[in-house]
């Protein structure tokens, strides 16, 4: 059985949940097995995971502490993995998934490959899993040589498939251990797509000159329905919030479209973004290294070009 953990936010599935389930289905086909999905707490229409290939959805009756306390989550997932005789456990490469995966690997004495980008297949001695390494500058393929394998799925690595139909949801009884953590507060922006999940990203760098110039970036992002990002010096100078910092020492992203505005394209910046499907670079310096990594380029002053691009996007949308 392939066991997949489906993430939700306040009772609504994240896109990541359907990605992970689609991935689990594809892996299960290669391994000749079925897919069981598991959710923690109440989720609206939890059976919808069937659309992405889950045969069954198990619901565990626990509160939000289980998402914050990886020891608790690990303990619960371990019990379920044993119950359904899991051969492969699929988590997202998210703050939750990454924190639980390592624990579960130790607890179940299993091999873990984190940040996988392709469905798992079977090898001579176990499971074959391909992951991104060197901040997106290379890939590594491993064979997991244990009875059960664990993987965390990189975001936007595979397109979501929701062509199936909803399945039944079953409550599952587990022993819930005590938590050694207490949640003091949460500050999560509602309704906004978190940067790592965004399909379209508009990013700007030091070429913007001053934080007060960012309205042209936000207008373009709004017109496209894109998330905003920035280079490291911009975040370090507090021109933009730290969670927007992308690159080798920031967030690594792989959106469908990355528009880089006034960013030179230093190797540490490219490391976190060069797996984007399509890259557009707007820079006034024809020698800017970013053009070498770009699909489309505009060599001009960003203060002229960006408003024009926003107008063109608006015209296209209407």
């Amino acid at each position: 059985m392939v066991l997949v953990y489906a993430e939700h936010q306040d009772g609504r599935f994240k896109k990541a949940a359907f990605e992970a389930t689609t991935f689990a289905r594809k892996s299960a086909e290669a391994l000749g097995s079925g897919v069981t999905a598991v959710v923690f707490g109440d989720v609206e229409e939890a059976g919808a995971l069937g659309e992405s290939g889950a045969d069954k959805v198990l619901k565990v009756d626990v509160g939000s502490i289980a998402e914050a306390d990886n020891a608790m989550a690990c303990d619960i997932l371990h019990q379920i993995a044993e119950k359904v005789n899991a051969r492969l456990v699929v988590l997202n490469h998210s703050s939750f998934g990454k924190s639980v995966a390592g624990r579960l690997a130790v607890k179940s004495n299993s091999g873990l490959v984190s940040g996988v980008v392709e469905p798992v297949s079977s090898g001579n001695n176990g499971y074959i899993a391909k992951k991104s390494v060197f901040s997106g500058k290379a890939y590594a393929t491993y064979e997991i040589e244990s009875d059960m394998g664990i993987v965390t799925l990189m975001r936007n690595a595979i397109p979501v498939d929701r062509s199936g139909s909803a399945v039944e949801v079953e409550n599952v009884d587990v022993d819930v251990p005590d938590s050694r953590l207490e949640i003091i507060s949460s500050d999560v922006k509602k309704g906004e797509v978190p940067l790592p999940e965004a399909e379209l990203v508009v990013s700007a760098g030091r070429g913007m000159k001053d934080p007060s110039n960012w309205d042209i970036i936000e207008e373009l992002a709004d017109a496209l329905g894109a998330a905003t990002a920035c280079s490291r010096p911009v975040a370090d100078a507090d021109w933009r919030p730290h969670h927007e910092h992308v690159g080798q020492t920031g967030v690594a992203i792989r959106p469908n479209l990355y528009i880089a505005i006034g960013i030179s394209g230093a190797i540490q910046h490219l490391a976190g973004v060069n797996n984007s499907k399509v890259i557009v670079v707007i820079n006034k310096d024809p020698e800017a290294p970013f053009f070498k990594a770009a699909d489309y380029g505009v060599c001009a002053d960003l203060f002229d070009v960006v408003p024009r691009l926003t107008e063109a996007v608006k015209k296209f949308k209407s």
Binding site: F134, K292, V298
Partner: protein
């Protein structure tokens, strides 16, 4: 309040990434190495700040060969009191976490720091594995931490925001950007580091469940299409019709 900081060695961020001909190993020829930025900039400095506030000592540990000593000395120069090197070129995160757990189990550290991830392996695995080995709470991706006697409030990065949790000692925490401000070692620190203890520890037996099949580089971009700055309609058309992303 005694802390242990796990430090690792990674290729310099500008290093050219290539692999041996059989694709099984990283080609380290001509590559210079640095301390993993998350370990150096955030984990280590935060541990030093905790010591400055509450007293105690900061120890660092690395699992690696003798050639790593230069990076370990840098951690001492930045302000760690004592260093340990488990003498083994580690095979995997499983190996690293098993070695550090065996070393730390009887030392009574209050906080064990790791970096958020290593910038070469990008595993983000060691912290969670270590916490499980030692049956400790694990607070991941900390971008702020207020350590007091008895417990600490840790703010962790989650998708789209942050979450603050309260946790009692001992615990494992992984350091993300914002946890502390990078410190550059000064001359005095560098001199003092030479006299601080760096102890070599023998490894324990540990198994690994992963076998590398191959490393590979992504396909190169085919070249950039330049668009006239006065024709943004054309760019939008290409993004829609050719690239199919909008």
């Amino acid at each position: 309040m005694n802390s242990l900081v796990c430090i690792s060695k990674t290729p310099d961020t500008t290093a050219k990434i290539s692999f041996t001909e059989d694709g099984k190993k990283f080609n380290s020829e001509g590559v210079s190495y640095i301390m993993n930025p998350y370990d150096e900039w955030y984990a280590l400095v935060k541990a030093i700040e905790v010591k400055e506030k509450l007293g105690g000592e900061v120890h660092v540990v690395n699992v690696g060969p003798a050639s790593n000593d230069i990076i370990i000395r840098k951690a001492l120069a930045i302000g760690a009191d004592k260093a340990f090197r488990v003498d083994k070129d580690p095979e995997s995160s499983e190996d690293v976490s098993a070695q550090v757990a065996a070393f730390a189990s009887d030392k009574g550290y209050d906080i064990i720091f790791t970096g958020k991830e290593t910038i070469d392996h990008n595993g983000s695995e060691v912290g969670a594995m270590l916490a499980q080995h030692m049956s400790l709470p694990f607070v991941s991706y900390a971008s702020d931490m207020e350590a007091d006697e008895g417990s600490a409030n840790v703010t962790r990065d989650v998708e789209g925001g942050t979450q603050t949790v309260k946790v009692s000692y001992p615990f494992v925490v992984s350091a993300a950007k914002g946890l502390a401000e990078q410190r550059i070692p000064n001359m005095r620190g560098i001199m003092m580091a030479k006299r601080k203890p760096l102890e070599v520890v023998q490894p324990v037996d540990a198994s690994s469940h992963l076998a590398i099949q191959k490393f590979e580089l992504p396909a190169e971009k085919t070249g950039v299409t330049m668009i006239d700055e006065n024709n943004m309609d054309e760019l939008v058309r290409l993004l829609h019709e050719e690239a199919k992303v909008i």
